[in-house]
Symmetry: C2
């Protein structure tokens, strides 16, 4: 990959096409002087005469004829490369890899929207992965990641989608059997239903005056699945810590009741993408689609019976 006199070659091509320096100068918007200089420089580099020239007539040498064709070929490839890139970057087509949280959020809230998006843009090839753990967007090949909570990873650009309220719920039968729960520490006395996190951190108050309480779950049922936790709570097995999307309809129907409502936790749902200065159009479109539709979809889910 050696240095080449690209300007010289361009001048050569232009002059050859036009058959005259003066015409080529008009065509390219350059002065005829520079065309002459650059062509001379090219010939000097190649140590070859590419054109015979009088003040009136130009004629390519045999070498020039072939060299011209080959160079035009090369430049055409480069031009096609550029065209391809701009086309590919602006087209609503091609692959988008998404990694997102599972559970009701992923399956009930996000997936239907993505399916709809895929239907709207059949040229786009959506591929969806579920996982909750941290993903290195640079190392892995995901274009978008949707996560619960505010992520520490600074190499990602995050956009807030919605706030999800985490509630503490129990069945009325259960509440009748136990003492009223009025403080987080009261949870130490009753069976709990918990998922992957067994340390429940309670925060309350504005910044500067934050009360913290911690409860370590041990008694009760551990099951890493929101749906099953929900079923367990409905069966009166204990107090469960669940996002409102799981429990909204049961709270509405009275099948579950909320305890410690003043200790509700608010967790943001965040859309993350690699810090690309130049985003592909298809990804930009999907991001906007998600940002515009997820809030409504969230409301729908909460009101679903």
């Amino acid at each position: 990959m050696n240095n080449q006199n690209y300007n010289g070659i361009r001048s050569f091509i232009a002059v050859s096409k036009c058959g005259s320096f003066t015409l080529a100068a008009e065509e390219t918007g350059l002065s005829k002087a520079v065309l002459s200089q650059q062509l001379s420089a090219l010939e000097k580099e190649l140590e070859v005469q590419l054109m015979h020239r009088t003040t009136r007539k130009l004629r390519l040498t045999e070498l020039g004829e072939v060299y011209l064709a080959k160079c035009q070929q090369g430049f055409k490839e480069l031009e096609l490369a550029k065209d391809w890139v701009t086309q590919a970057s602006t087209a609503l087509a091609g692959p988008i890899k998404i990694n997102m949280v599972g559970g009701v959020i992923g399956e009930q809230m996000l997936a239907p929207l993505l399916i709809q998006f895929q239907q709207n843009h059949p040229e786009i090839e959506l591929s969806i992965n579920f996982s909750s753990h941290q993903v290195d967007l640079l190392a892995s090949q995901f274009d978008l990641v949707i996560r619960m909570g505010t992520l520490a990873d600074s190499s990602l650009v995050g956009r807030h989608l919605i706030n999800i309220t985490t509630r503490y719920v129990a069945a009325p039968e259960f509440l009748n059997k136990h003492q009223a729960i009025q403080h987080p520490q009261d949870l130490n006395q009753v069976p709990l239903i918990y998922g992957s996190v067994n340390k429940w951190l309670f925060k309350q108050g504005k910044q500067g005056n934050i009360q913290e309480q911690q409860v370590k779950a041990s008694k009760g049922l551990q099951v890493a699945n929101g749906e099953v936790m929900c079923q367990a709570a409905l069966a009166g097995l204990g107090v469960a810590r669940l996002a409102d999307v799981y429990v909204a309809k049961y709270l509405a129907s009275g099948e579950l009741f909320e305890v410690l409502p003043q200790w509700q936790e608010i967790t943001p749902l965040t859309l993350l993408c690699p810090p690309s200065q130049y985003q592909l159009e298809r990804i930009r479109v999907l991001m906007n689609f998600l940002i515009n539709n997820i809030p409504n979809r969230y409301e729908q889910l909460l009101q679903m019976k």
Copy 2:
């Protein structure tokens, strides 16, 4: 044929190959700063992210991957074009078109040398044309022209090959029948054998003191062929004006005698080529071959019996 950021593309290719800016900097001999700048500039122009980069890891985007391949292809073509040119210009192969004088000079002196040259370089494709009139080397496609006399055409570069002596000769029988010829004007009294030129111009003396004599041939035989003129002279038809290559052996054997030896004319044989600053190697080689061998060949011809 739009402007493209060739340096940007080159930097992109180099960094992609090396997998690191620092390595690519060493490889290319540029500073890593300029690689970074140029790649950024390229991305800005394309409005596309070609590479994801951390301080530790580089990874091509999907777009970058394809763009890289396409650009490499394009550059490869350009490189091949250059390689082809240098190869073609230095190789002893390819066509050489020659236009040269006919007659004994062309057929007996030059042609055998050219045949020998063609045998020495079978990859070269020699093509030979005979003619005496002026040829525009630029308009026609001749690489070399061999002509008698010093040509006025300034657009050609001439190299002196040999001096050919033109003599006035007659058979001894003829000379016995006529008065002694001691001055050009004496030729008006005897039959002459002449070719295409029927005005014989005689010059004598150094510059500044030149004597000129002109004789217009009319009586005698006109035949535009040196060989036939020679035969006519041998048959005693008259005084012929012939290059020494035609008559040398007859002068040696006494079959012909020279008249007016002090009025001998010396005509240079000249090798002409287009004013190419960069000569193809094969043409340079042929020119040297001719320049080196024609004098010997000329001597050979003169001594031939």
